[in-house]
Amino acid sequence: MTSPVLHLPLAFLQTIGLAHFLVVGAVLFCAGITTVLARRNAVGILIGLELILNAANLNLVAFERFGPAPLRGTVFAIFVLAVAAAEAAIALAIVLNVFDSRDEIDVDETTALKG
């Protein structure tokens, strides 16, 4: 039983080039964006955020692997990781703060400030 996949031109599968990584990066980025928009829970939004940051990391590393610049991309990626961690920590602390005073962190409810 031949599945359609097999008929794909094998050439596409063999040589994994820069484009593939960028496509995956873009997909990750879009996933992150949709998660941020769809989620009502603050933590859910933070998860989406992590997806976006990792998409950026993937791009960086991919460019570094296929591009001329030696080791610049990965250094950048590592910095991004570090900053992402710090940001997540701060964000969760603030979310906890909100949780204390409101007993729920549904983002749509926090509308005291508006107009």
Partner: protein, 652 residues
Amino acid sequence: MLNLALVIVLAPFVGFLLQSAFGRRLPRQGDWLTILGIGASFAAAVIVFGRVLGGEVLDAADPAANARWEWMRFGEVVWNVGIKIDGLTAVMLFVVTLVAFLVHVFSSAYMHGDPKYWKFFAWLQMFSTSMLILVLADNLLVLFIGWELVGLCSYKLIGFWSERQDPCNAARKAFITTRIGDLGMVVALMLIYSQTKSFAFEDMFRAASTGGLDQQVRTWASLGLFMAAMGKSAQFPLHVWLPDAMEGPTPVSALIHAATMVAAGVYLVGRTFPLFTDASLLVVASVGAVTAVMAGLIALAQNDIKKVLAYSTVSQLGFMFLGLGCKAWHAALFHLTTHAFFKALMFLGSGSVIHACHHEQDMRKMGGLWRKLPITGTTFFIGVLAIAGFPFVTSGFFSKDAILAGAWHAHPALFWIGLGAAVLTAFYMFRLFAMTFLGKPKDEHVFEHAHESPFAMTLPLLVLCALSVAAGWDLFHWHSKLLDPVAAGATAAGSIGHHEHSQFVMYLAITAGCVGLGAGLIVFRAMAPERLAALKRPFGGLERAFARKFGFDELYREVILRPAYVLANVLAWTDREGVDGAVNGIGRTAASAARGSGTIDRVVVDGAVRGTGAVILAGGDGVARTQSGRIRTYVAFGIAAVALILILGRIF
């Protein structure tokens, strides 16, 4: 000569200043002061009259007389103010100062006991001053200034008893109607100035004769001047204010509406006669003729003694304009002078009658007063004869006959209308005389109290009676000496026709006069009241029409006043809502915000949206609504914007 003229003008002005400042505290409330002022002016006028008879003339143009002073300067154009005396001015000066003097004397008795006695004399003085400015002016601008000042003084004098509403309305109506006329004068001024760049009479006449002013401009300018004259002399369309002006005290009616102000219109047309082209002269003549007849008819149906006299004035002025229109310049001006005397006589006469009957003006309550007021009666009778044009004895005959002769030569059609008017004049004047002085007294109460007026009132009557007879004869042949040179000047401008005295016209005029008087005698004197009523019945509808003055007041009220008010209110509303509304949004919200009312949102959100202000606030409101407070909408907006720009980027 110059300082005489200055005395003439300044004497009453000084009187006005002193009287209005200290009048109340002076003995007899200062009436002697004002009589002195106008007396001095009258004396000077007599001297000037004599001098001008001797051929001496004050011409502002020549520098020697230095009767011209620079008033304003624009670039190289200079406007100046000057005094000019020629034959016509001399005559007018004499007439105005004399009548004014007599009226001052008359009112010292008539107005006795009035709370604002001193104020009346102050404004009489001011009126005389403005009239004299008008007469002495050497250019059209100063004449216009005098013209409007006369308007102001007549406003003040008509509305003298200002605590009652009717005099105030009458005064306002007079001022505004004459003001509409003045519009014509302003237009004329502008038309002439734009071509000649000067207002002096001699420049204007030189330009007119040498073609400086083209024909079209001359016609329109002269019609503008005539419009002003119509306003002031209460001619056909603009006559509505004169009968109402009778609300003013009788001496005022005598001075203003018989002799001077009303005559100013005729003087204006006379003075600026060279400007008139044949076309405009035809208009003047026809308006004059129509007014003469129409006013006569209305006078016939009036029962208030002063209203009859008022309409008779309008009719006589129509006569004068008819004369001017038919280029009988000399005759018209002559009629002006004679009419001034006998009309003033009759107004003062009616004043003394009213004074006698304790301010009763309705003729139907009078009758048989001749026995009670002999002097007034006789003088009044002579006045009636004069105005009717009783042959040879009265001056009226000579002047009216001259006008009719002129009309006969120029426009025969208008001559017949004029003749008809003459008959009418005689008829209604005799009706007036008969109803007041002859026949049986209709109201015992009025008749009992009637008594002859004091000497101060009868003296002017006697003087005027003498003059209205004497003026006819060419004493010191003042016609030729005074009027002809000016007429010659005017003819030089090629617009005054030569007229010879035709016998046929004279006889016609005599018969007209007698027929009118006779008919009056038969109808009003002899006929019994009930047959009189029978005679009147077929004319019933006509009479009501005459009584309501052909409905002109209502016509104006509907055609001009009401739409003006409606337009004003509509504009005021649009101003508040429309133009103002365009910017009102901000203002209104600021006010509501300032009141800090809690309903701000309701007011702003669902309030009526107005103009740019509101648009701005709606924008602001839109922005605020996007701030929904929900974080996910914020992020969504952000990303959506980025995506939008990306797509747009792809398209371009």
